[in-house]
């Protein structure tokens, strides 16, 4: 049960983002820019960064939602699964491995991001902007994960829920739908 009263038909982050709209709007805007804006990283690659951070923070709701989004964007479900298991041996480019390493270090602490980790990414062809975006996506998902778990929001166990949610964030993105979320009951 959540630590504060939240709408029951909006589990996970969605109920929190409806709880205080003036703080939700910049969080949604930042997510839309980072995960759906123009970038030399694909949307699938950016969702993999969100996924590995949520997985390492053990935030089931975010992990399931962004795994599903990555699966839908990549057209298969093996890559996200293997990235979470061991990204060094996952079927992604050397550049992505280096960026996932930076994301994994950022999850631990900003100070954990070493010069070696940055040099590895640069040698694999990562630009300054890609490194910047990787650190900020990882940092943003630490915000999300701590927000979702810190208020003990509910994570549905039905996989169909995440299928629907994944389709929504792939198809429509992260901005609040006009008029908000209708309570079906």
């Amino acid at each position: 049960m959540p630590h504060i009263p939240l709408p029951e038909h909006l589990p996970g982050i969605t109920g929190l983002l409806e709880y205080r709209l003036d703080t939700a709007m910049p969080i949604r805007d930042l997510t839309q820019i980072l995960l759906r804006g123009e970038s030399s990283l694909t949307q699938g690659e950016r969702e993999l960064i969100a996924t590995i951070v949520s997985s390492r923070n053990c935030t089931n709701f975010c992990e399931a939602a962004h795994t599903k989004a990555a699966d839908l964007l990549l057209g298969e479900s093996e890559t996200a699964r293997l990235v979470k298991l061991d990204f060094e041996s996952a079927p992604v480019s050397d550049k992505m491995k280096a960026l996932l390493n930076i994301a994994a270090l950022t999850q631990k602490s900003g100070k954990a991001v070493s010069e070696e980790a940055i040099e590895r990414a640069q040698k694999a062809g990562a630009t300054d902007l890609e490194i910047h975006d990787t650190v900020l996506i990882a940092a943003l998902f630490c915000l999300y994960n701590k927000y979702v778990d810190g208020l003990a929001t509910v994570a549905p166990s039905d996989p169909a829920f995440y299928q629907t949610l994944g389709e929504r964030i792939v198809g429509r993105g992260y901005l609040r739908p006009p008029g908000g979320f209708v309570n079906p009951s």
Binding site: H3, T23, I33, G110, I131, V135, L136, C142, D149
Partner: protein
């Protein structure tokens, strides 16, 4: 030296924010919505939560600037009160409600799942509203983002306290923004 080429003369978070103005805009909007209001928790109390979490994350730049803003609001001219809060808030003259909320913020810093029902009950018993608890968790979570952004890119931070004091006055007057550079050191 920062990990990537950032605009020169921009300390701390202003470096990456000026490198990427598009993402800086919502980040500053979030800081203003969370910190520049006295609804429920006061501005000083909100800045204390930000300072404490930044200190727990060992982020020098964030704990110093938000500590300076907190000191400004709380009439803590020499910064000794904010320092005591960072060291051991239980031993300070803070209200029991704020102590309970800082304890929740400390748990969020370690991991969201560390926040216990007992901590939340204790805060409510001391008069914290649902919104106070929400804002405490979100401020703590947001600073786990800001701190990682600042340290994950190895930004530089001024060491002169006066720089932060002057910047704190500007923040208190005008809110958070990436546009205004830090005042030059006058001492």
């Amino acid at each position: 030296m920062p990990h990537i080429s950032l605009p020169e003369g921009m300390p701390g978070i202003l470096g990456p924010m000026n490198f990427s103005p598009e993402t800086a805009a919502p980040m500053n909007a979030l800081a203003n919505a969370l910190l520049q209001t006295d609804e429920g928790l006061s501005r000083g109390e909100r800045e204390l939560i930000a300072t404490y979490v930044s200190s727990e994350n060992d982020c020098f730049f964030c704990q110093t600037i938000h500590g300076a803003v907190a000191s400004h609001y709380l009439g803590d001219a020499d910064g000794s009160f904010v320092k005591a809060v960072k060291c051991d808030f239980e031993q300070t003259t803070l209200s029991d409600k704020m102590k309970a909320l800082l304890s929740i913020a400390g748990s969020v810093q370690k991991g969201g799942k560390n926040v216990t029902i007992e901590q939340v009950e204790a805060a409510k018993k001391q008069g914290a509203t649902d919104k106070d608890i929400h804002d405490t968790v979100l401020i703590a979570a947001a600073f786990c983002m800001f701190n990682r952004y600042v340290d994950g890119l190895a930004t530089t931070a001024p060491t002169e306290e006066n720089v932060y004091r002057l910047r704190a006055l500007r923040i208190a007057n005008d809110g958070y923004s990436a546009s205004a550079p830090y005042a030059p050191v006058t001492s």
